[in-house]
């Protein structure tokens, strides 16, 4: 059964595009047929994160307007021939597409793919409504911060009102050191507050930025902790039961010393 999953957050910049790119790549590594839709019309991003910006010919709006066939607009990944991108239009705005058209598009893609993942724009306006229209599942991305969590809660409420309940949570950019100091909400706090199921936790990882510079997904790197976290989430999406990985990096000497003299919190 194909699944259409929207990746959304409310607040901007919390990691929707990073999450979509990495989960899509990780699912492709698991031999699934995956298409990623960039629904952020006017602010296309997913193409550069995947390193596919030079291969784009047509885009989502071209398809919807009947300017080209869906097949022609799909951009194949550099590495996986079972991973495709449907790019957003860059010169149009969000009103160029409506929810009915998005629903029809997702319906068509179901025939050829196992997973259709939609990278949602920030906000709760037309772009959000388009992005959720064709999806029956939702992943909410948040960081462990007050503003992001508040917006996530709003999105959860809106999804419920649209009859798309039961979204799953990804907590991104968690910093174990700050959590240990009591300066960042921990996993339990966030779940307590939002009261939805946890799909995974992705630690803050400098390599995400460095890899994104190259247009490479973190899941392809064995030494990236964020990559490992995303690979685990992809496995959970396919129905496997994978426990949360230990989040803290190997502790440094300084941390151990501080804890030894009782300055740390644990």
């Amino acid at each position: 059964m194909p699944q259409v999953i929207v990746v959304t957050s409310g607040k901007g910049g919390v990691g929707k595009t990073t999450t979509t790119a990495n989960l899509g790549t990780a699912l492709a590594m698991l031999n699934q047929h995956v298409v990623l839709i960039d629904a952020d019309i006017g602010l296309r991003n997913l193409d550069v994160v995947l390193g596919l910006e030079n291969r784009i010919v047509y885009d989502l709006v071209d398809v919807v307007e009947g300017y080209c066939r869906l097949r022609q607009a799909l951009v194949r990944d550099k590495q996986f021939d079972n991973l495709y991108l449907l790019p957003a239009a860059q010169t149009k705005d969000k009103t160029a597409v409506n929810p009915e058209q998005m629903t029809a598009l997702c319906q068509e893609l179901r025939q050829d793919f196992d997973y259709i993942m939609i990278d949602c724009p920030a906000g709760i306006e037309q772009g959000f409504k388009n992005a959720i229209a064709g999806a029956e599942k939702a992943i909410i991305v948040t960081t462990p911060e007050v503003a992001a969590i508040r917006d996530a809660d709003r999105i959860i409420g809106l999804l419920e009102a649209e009859g798309r309940g039961d979204p799953k949570l990804v907590i991104n950019r968690l910093r174990p050191n700050m959590v240990r100091r009591g300066d960042m909400l921990d996993i339990i706090d966030v779940i307590d507050i939002l009261a939805i199921d946890l799909l995974g936790v992705v630690p803050e990882d400098e390599r995400v930025v460095a890899l994104t510079n190259r247009g490479e997904a973190a899941v392809l790197q064995n030494n990236s902790r964020a990559g490992k976290a995303y690979r685990n989430i992809a496995l959970r999406i396919t129905g496997e039961n994978v426990p949360l990985m230990p989040l803290a990096e190997e502790e440094g000497l300084w941390d151990r010393l501080r804890r030894a003299v009782g300055l740390g919190r644990h």
Binding site: V146, R150, D153, G182, D183, L185, D192, I193
Partner: protein
């Protein structure tokens, strides 16, 4: 060093403050649905009250009010008169006054 330690133990962790703030914010926002939702609530309340009282439906207002740790639904419905038929055996209440219902 000592005062630093003292501070460390007396100040609540910033994440606890964040959690508390979030819980308050969300308690409020989760019951602040769309205006159309409140319109529906208002229409239903008016319908019920209408059985008993002659009211000025056009001037009725329904909204949420936030008190310290509680959210209340406040309905302000101008009452014109009590409907004689509805009085039955119950005792009379004030005529022609404006009254507030806390629901």
């Amino acid at each position: 060093m000592f005062s630093f330690l003292k501070k460390l133990f007396h100040r609540p962790a910033s994440k606890d403050i964040a959690k508390e703030r979030l819980q308050l914010i969300l308690a409020r926002e989760r019951v602040s649905p769309s205006p159309s939702f409140l319109e529906r609530v208002k229409d239903d309340i008016i319908q019920v009250v209408n059985h008993y009282l002659e009211i000025d439906a056009a001037a009725a207002q329904v909204r949420f009010v936030h008190q310290e740790s509680m959210v209340a639904l406040m309905a302000r419905i101008p009452v014109l008169s009590v409907k004689p038929a509805a009085l039955g055996k119950k005792e009379e209440s004030g005529h022609g006054e404006e009254s507030q219902l806390d629901c």
